[in-house]
Symmetry: C2
Subunit: 329 residues, 2 copies
């Protein structure tokens, strides 16, 4: 379903503390090289003092600057993060406070589909933009993965980094090239426990003293991979079909930066040439829902994306879900 929507600009923020894979090798007691080999991440960032809303606001401010806009030009703030900064209120209210100081009462709410938040948010908000409810919306994903990593689960522990990314999304010019061609999401909830943090909510609430590892990230990588490998190829075929384009027409595939090995296997399975497949994993790691907009930002910054480029964003998330959007940047 075509919508004349434009991503006007993007921004990102990375915390200052750089964590090398060699440091993790030592901390985890694994042979030197193990962390890189299992993640394809050389460096990721961890917060020291930053909160998620601070990082989100800094990424948003960069996106505003790049578009020559101020917060006064924005009609709505949407957090598309996969983790909460605090249980209540929603993340977007905290980002709203950082950006406006409370001076401008535009709506602020969260959309959450774990790592697919940016795709879900872009998709949903594009309809509201298309209908004219908003002129310009800030989508912000900001994640602190490092606090929830489990050193006993070495393979997931080495994958993640912290950081934020944001995008200003607006109704496009009908004559301009920018538009969304198609979007889709599929949830295979037989996999809800393949990727999870089972505690922290109402089920295993901190006051009930569940086992400490319930508050930490768990992933059954093999099960996720099997599910994704089984369903993603036909999902992509349908998405391209809806967009009315073929994979050969796509200028750039921006995948969720899940893990180096999984990304490479999927790239090959989907028959995407390496030069059309953007990985920023090596110096960012998997930053949960910030991964997709951060990769988009890097694509723009590195000159891999121009107005008129045909893009496929594609991801997988806890749920387990597949999601994708085909758009002309």
């Amino acid at each position: 379903m075509e919508r004349t929507i434009q991503i006007a600009s993007t921004g990102k923020y990375l915390p200052g503390k750089i964590v090398f894979s060699e440091e993790l090798d030592e901390k985890l007691g694994v042979p030197r090289g193990w962390s890189y080999e299992h993640s394809r991440v050389r460096t990721r960032r961890y917060v020291t003092e930053e909160t998620a809303s601070e990082m989100g606001a800094l990424a948003a401010e960069e996106a505003l600057r790049k578009a020559g806009l101020s917060i006064e030009d924005i009609d709505c703030i949407v957090s598309v993060s996969g983790t909460m900064e605090q249980a209540i209120p929603c993340n977007a209210a905290l980002i709203h406070r950082r950006l406006t100081g409370g001076s401008r009462p535009i709506p602020a709410f969260d959309i959450n589909s774990t790592c697919l938040g940016f795709i879900t948010g872009l998709d949903l908000i594009s309809h509201a933009l298309q209908a004219g409810q908003y002129r310009r919306v800030l989508l912000v994903a900001s994640e602190i993965a490092s606090v929830g990593l489990n050193r006993e689960h070495k393979k997931s522990c080495v994958l993640f980094g912290d950081g934020a990314a944001a995008a200003v999304v607006q109704k496009g010019d009908a004559e301009g090239p920018s538009r969304i061609l198609a979007s889709d999401m599929e949830t295979y909830s037989q996999g809800t426990d393949y990727i999870q943090i089972r505690g922290g909510g109402t089920k295993h609430h901190p006051r009930t003293n569940p086992p400490a590892e319930y508050f930490l990230f768990e992933m059954n990588g093999a099960a996720v991979y099997r599910l994704v490998a089984r369903h993603l190829p036909s999902f992509v075929d349908r998405l391209l079909d809806r967009a009315g384009v073929g994979m050969e027409d796509i200028d750039l595939v921006i995948p969720h930066q899940a893990s180096g090995i999984a990304m490479e296997l999927l790239r090959k399975k989907l028959g995407i040439p390496e030069e059309k497949f953007l990985s920023i994993l090596e110096d960012h790691g998997n930053t949960i829902a910030a991964s997709l907009p951060m990769a988009l930002h890097e694509a723009v910054q590195r000159g891999r994306l121009h107005r008129g480029s045909l893009v496929m964003m594609l991801g997988t998330s806890a749920g387990a879900s597949l999601g994708g959007v085909v758009f002309v940047y």
Copy 2:
């Protein structure tokens, strides 16, 4: 902005355990009658074994039954809850699993604006329905407030109950009366800390052992009331204006069931006659984001609402935010 959207049906689920205000008087060590006097809640329900996703699925199944539909007729599941069942994945994936067993890979994601989730969800999803992306969407709010209550904060402790409500939302018949006339939300983020649970997320993560009360609900009722009293009347005026109707045209106001005293003060301030103002507080309490769809469900069940009735849903939430939608049921 008019949209030919219809709420096809609603459902609710309440856990079995009834908690009388007199029991709370005893537990909190306050004089008999204090809990009712400060909340106007006689009974509320607390979960014993139920999880939020279980309750949400049961409410959704009632909504489906009432519409003569099955899950096969649904294109998308949206959780509009204000609390998480677990940190990852999103609530909707867990509800999706309960409803489909993983057999039907429709999208599942969360929209969160704390107590306003149903209004935000209805508003956002109505654009996607209007555009034809989905035919029918399940909105589900399911909340377990009881686990996060702080007995030291007696006034908020007596307000809340647990429970779930759901609605099937679909594109309306162009000739039928059902439509959304206007919607709006305003976030006054100077009030982010007026209503909060500051722990449980990445800022005060359980692994960092923050004070135990950080995981419990806090509310500065007086500050919330001042903010709402200051901004709500003009918010409602603008909302009515956009809808092109006057308060005298509204058949029923369905407010968020925040607290008896606040609801009564606001009803008077907004000049809404008692017979047009629905309170289900007495036997439900405040069930966070489930309050609005639960009150809608009760309005239908009690015959207060008919096809063609003009409704204003109105609420306040942590953030602090105001939200409203005017629709023809």
